[in-house]
Subunit: 185 residues, 2 copies
Amino acid sequence: MNTPIVLMIIDMQKGMSWPQAGVRNNLNAERDITELLAHWRGKNQPVVHVLHHSTEPDSLFWPEQEGAEPQEMFLPLENEKVIVKSVPDAFTYSNLEVWLNTQGIQRLVIVGVSTNNSVESTVRSAGNLGFKTYVVANGCFAFEKKDFDGEMRSAQEVHAMSLANLDGEYATVITQADALLLCKQ
Amino acid sequence: MNTPIVLMIIDMQKGMSWPQAGVRNNLNAERDITELLAHWRGKNQPVVHVLHHSTEPDSLFWPEQEGAEPQEMFLPLENEKVIVKSVPDAFTYSNLEVWLNTQGIQRLVIVGVSTNNSVESTVRSAGNLGFKTYVVANGCFAFEKKDFDGEMRSAQEVHAMSLANLDGEYATVITQADALLLCKQ
């Protein structure tokens, strides 16, 4: 019998779907994450919902407003683990590592936003801590951003550079089909 | 009286100077780090040397060969802290966080290699943990690398994207002059 494999959904809150969040790539990520979530629930595999609560009142993630609420299609069920964080990395100052270990979970499939910020920080830590970590490329997205030399990088460029940092070093970057198959095993 | 400010030098080992390491940017980083190290020592401020020891025998950082040794100009002095790590993030499975706290160190100036790997992981964790963290742009370097869409990115592009991920979110990216000034305060 295989050990459990967790689906971790990062920062898919209402504010992330608002125009103020920025110009993004992977417009079908919500559909793909919804499919993965239904699949995971159907297989009775564990799900972790990571929610960001900012410490800055003007943030889209300030907890006392709608932007911080989970998007409707990703509302946690009662038996699902929720991690509330105030920094990008879901492992920092949370009980996530301990919880995964007590559940016997060694394999993580990670989706959410943004690829180069909360997703990348959490995936780096997961890999550093020794978890077998997968990132679903189509289930993450990023926002356009200037690089430090002042050159505007498209959301897809930011996303692709971030995945290249992660793949083979901290995690394995996979497709939707790979992810569905992992949860069937 | 100000609290101490630490200079953290990441992975400046002999293997990083070999051609096998790849095509890099910031060819003057060694000179600039040497200047910072002399300045820090002159001001009696703390220095942390982070050394990578790979778990893969064919790595440039496999501990039982010259590539893993510190470069001559960055050899730690007896009173300086050394962290040996086997994953990119110097905080993972090390006593670095505890050591900084027991020394009363809240401010970190980080240099080394590579910008988008060990430097970025360590800086992300430092920022997430709440340390006031600075990255000296000219004191770090990266290597050319394909992004996940298969496009070759120059070392400077990789470096500039990584610094953009860090600046304002996990750290403040600064110049050599800024760093020298920080240690004078």
